[in-house]
Amino acid sequence: MAKAQAAIETLNFESALAELEVIVRDLETGKTSLEESISAYERGVALRNHCEQKLREAQAKIEKITVNADGSVSVKPFAEQE
């Protein structure tokens, strides 16, 4: 389980949701064995938590790119009234 959790941390939202959907479908069709279903369910719950975590990260941050004299780029806060 710990291994699966670790793998989930690296998933992006879409993959996590897609996998959750697959798990849900599998559970709904009921074709998996009971043991598989239980581990799938546990993974589903972990995926759900991961998805919700990703959704909680919704925080707007607006920055403006500035090209420096040496050609490097840096950012500074974006103000609309420029």
Partner: protein, 457 residues
């Protein structure tokens, strides 16, 4: 400019009616006449014989079926042009007519070039599109799918105006993200270079640098005329978009406007707002989707377990209650045992009955003896009772008989005076006279058995 060279013509000495002019004087005069007569002109024609000099100035001819005129576009003007002059392009050039005195030429110094009608512009764009398409820049295979939920969104657009505001607001409505705005001119001189530079600049950001590398780009501009949007038709911009390894959404102008960057972009959005909608999903919907999936996950699991429980119960039911199975068997056994008992009892009883019957039939010798003794006793008793009576009876009968016999006895007859004649030999009564011969002795019996002998005569 060149006219400065001829601004101070020398005085002309009069030798005839026709004044004598130096070449320079004449050239200068012609130049003035031309410039004064024509001033600014708008000329429509097709660009031909285009030469871009090392200085950056453009030399070309503007021609139609019958005529041709030299045109010059200075480098500084070139940068301001809304369109990039191309060979064969039908344009309307605005500028001043002047001369090039050194070679007796007149020419048009171009201030601005516009395409001669939408058709011409579209033809130019179509030609460019074909050329770039032939290079494979628009191949579907080059398209990169958009990330479902980008972490950092790079926006290449003007930092002012409605476009960036619309994008930011729509992003905020749907799913607030980290946005990097790369400010650029979106039209006019240097716009195309800035736009292309911004795209390549974003693309060149290292994955783990100080400035986060976007995982999605939006190249946007608000609506405008075909000419206003021309920067987004520039090869440099189209190539930058096509080369970009970050998924790119183009959103230039209104829905009906199509620029060449749209073909090179991974996705074309009809408007900047639409680009923001394509860039991120709606957070609330995702939350709802996750909740829905969670609900289904739970329901599915519950149903799955219920289903299995039902199956187990079903099988268990079919397996049967061992108690009941046993009960049935027990009942059968009980029944059998009962019948066995009954049969046994019946059997025993029958035998008992028979034994009793037989036993009853079998008399004990004592009882037999007793009975027989009884019978014997009865007989004895009866005999005892009967015998005396019998004897007395017999005696009585005997007495009666004796009396009867006595009454009937011949002796009674003798008493009454009769005699019995008997043969003296055998004492046999002689009843018949024939039995007695003459001279024969007979015995006479009298009363009281007195005997006397007599001879018959």
């Amino acid at each position: 400019m060149n006219s400065d060279l001829f601004s101070n013509p020398a005085p002309v000495p009069a030798r005839s009616n026709v004044p004598e002019l130096s070449v320079s004087e004449l050239s200068g005069s012609i130049q003035r006449s031309l410039e004064e007569s024509f001033g600014r002109v708008r000329v429509r024609g097709e660009i031909a014989g285009m030469k871009l000099a090392a200085s950056g100035h453009l030399y070309a001819d503007l021609k139609d079926e019958n005529a041709s005129i030299s045109i010059i576009c200075w480098r500084s003007t070139m940068q301001r042009l809304k369109i990039r002059p191309e060979e064969g392009l039908e344009v309307i050039c605005t500028g001043k007519i002047t001369t090039y005195p050194k070679s007796s030429r007149y020419q048009l110094i171009v201030d601005s070039i516009e395409l001669a009608g939408a058709g011409a512009l579209l033809k130019m764009l179509e030609d460019r599109k074909k050329k770039l398409a032939a290079e494979g820049l628009f191949d579907p295979a080059r398209k990169i799918p958009l990330p479902y939920l980008p972490r950092v969104i790079g926006v290449v657009t003007s930092p002012t105006g409605a476009v960036i505001r619309d994008i930011l607001h729509r992003l905020d409505d749907r799913f607030p993200r980290h946005v990097l705005v790369w400010p650029v001119l979106v039209q006019g001189e240097g716009a195309a270079e800035q736009i292309a530079g911004a795209i390549r600049g974003f693309d060149a950001l290292p994955a783990s640098g100080k400035v986060p590398r976007p995982d999605l780009l939006i190249v946007a501009r608000g609506g405008g005329s075909l000419e206003d949007l021309m920067a987004f038709n520039e090869e440099a911009v189209v190539r930058a978009a096509a080369d970009c390894s970050i998924p790119l959404i183009s959103a230039v102008g209104h829905e009906t406007d199509t620029t060449l960057i749209d073909y090179a972009a991974d996705v074309r959005a009809p408007t900047p707002t639409a680009a923001a909608e394509m860039a991120v999903p709606v957070r609330a919907e995702l939350l709802a989707a996750v909740m829905e999936q969670t609900r289904r996950l739970f329901t599915g699991m519950t149903r799955l377990i219920d289903h299995r429980r039902e199956r187990v119960q079903g099988m268990a039911a079919r397996l049967g209650d061992p108690q009941r199975l046993l009960a049935t068997k027990t009942q059968s056994l009980d029944h059998a045992l009962h019948r066995l008992d009954t049969a046994f009892a019946t059997n025993i009883r029958e035998r008992e009955t028979r034994v009793v019957r037989l036993g009853a039939a079998l008399r004990h010798p004592r009882s037999l003896i007793e009975r027989e003794s009884q019978r014997l006793q009865d007989r004895v008793d009866r005999l005892k009772n009967t015998a005396p009576r019998l004897i007395s009876d017999k005696a009585q009968a005997l007495r009666s008989l004796r009396r009867m016999l006595e009454s009937l006895s011949f002796e009674r007859v003798l008493d009454r005076g009769y005699v019995v004649v008997r043969d003296p030999a055998d004492d046999r009564p002689l009843g018949e006279s024939g039995q007695i011969a003459s001279g024969q002795a007979v015995s006479l019996q009298f009363k009281g058995n007195q005997r006397r002998r007599a001879l018959i005569d």
